[in-house]
Amino acid sequence: MTEQLRRSLDAYRENTQCTASPEFASETLDRLGLADRYTTLESTIGPVYVAWNPRGVSAVRQADDAEDFERWFRKRFARRALPATSTPQIVDDVRRALAGEDVQLSIDLRDCTPFEAAVLRKAQEIPSGHARPYAWVARELNNPRAVRAVGNALANNPVPLLIPCHRVVRSDYTSGEYVFGPAAKDALLEHEGLHMHEIEALAKRGVRYIGLPDDNCFCLPSCGGDLIERLDAHEKHVELHSVDEALAMGLEPCATCRPIAA
């Protein structure tokens, strides 16, 4: 009997086991004001949908309409986002960040793998007006072979614009993939003051680095928009094709764009 009782209890437990409905957590959190909420905000590339929750900003996305955004959000994060009914501080922070202000934002990266999160944090270090190759990010993360994985991680950036994945470009300085399209990526970089066409032209001629003898350093050509402007103003500079060339001239790697591994 004891064995049979155990089996009966096990069967009872198993047959009456429920799984909460897919909406359960979202609805519960919503009742507590903890669910993801969203609104639309202006950005350089036009209006974008922005979602947030107590962890921080969870999504930035262009969408045809609210329904389109909600559908995408649910598919991407397996939970629901609801239209905002109030304007918390974080919305104002995002608005200012989208306008180019330097704002400290909490970002919800819980769905990212540790590697993806590391890539995104690295992209966050790239200042406005600068760009870095995918391979540079891989190298900075001590994983120089992971160039493709870096590309995938950036393509999965849940909060483009706020984490500036658009500042990571191909090694030939063509802009490469972007969630809002390559044209938007070029436009954003131009808007931030980077002269992508001139940098791309340099790369085409095999120029990998720019030496600045007066500063005793060498840079990536994408080290800030003003670098190209300084060249245009005929500041003394050397076009370099390799690191060896730079080192042979006794130039130090730039501390900002870190053209070679530390």
């Binding site: 209890l9 096990d10 069967a11 009872y12 047959n15 009456t16 429920c18 609805e27």
Partner: protein, 200 residues
Amino acid sequence: MTAALPAFEPTTSVDEVGELLAHALADDVDLAFEQVVRTYQDRIVSVAARSLGDRQRAEEVAQDVFVRAYRALVTYDRPRIRKLRLRSWLYAITLNLIRNAVRGKRLRTVGLERDDGSPRPIADPKPTPEAQAEARVEWQLVGGAIAKLSPKLRDAFVLRYVEELSYDEIADALSQPVGTVKANAHRGLMNVRAFLEEQS
């Protein structure tokens, strides 16, 4: 306790996740609460569904459980949250709310059957291996046996033999001494066994 315990004891899992979550809650309730919901939602919905015999109402009660829990947590100071035994605390709230939900009504555990006598599908459909076929008739009787227990025995029995909590946790959830909880769970088990024997 002089009464001999039955030959089997359920395997009791320690609520390690609950400890981690309690620490996370102590740091930031708003940040950690979603994980609390996602960790315990299936358990809470299940325990409510078993008592209420109604999936929809079970979800409503379970939602109320988490809302109550959250509203309490935001009033607690950090040391109190950190010491919280999350799982038994949530069960305590759940049992209270189930009690409120059934107050004045016949307990529906019996009602794991529809009016036509077929089993009420509160659980998610899953394939039943042939080995369990024999037990299948009996599991429906278990629900009836549990409903016949007095509330005192039922809570202790359910938490021990259905929910598989440790006696420590049950004592916590029911605010009773461990000895009382052990005795009640055991008496509940004996009664359920007697009921099932009667039926067969």
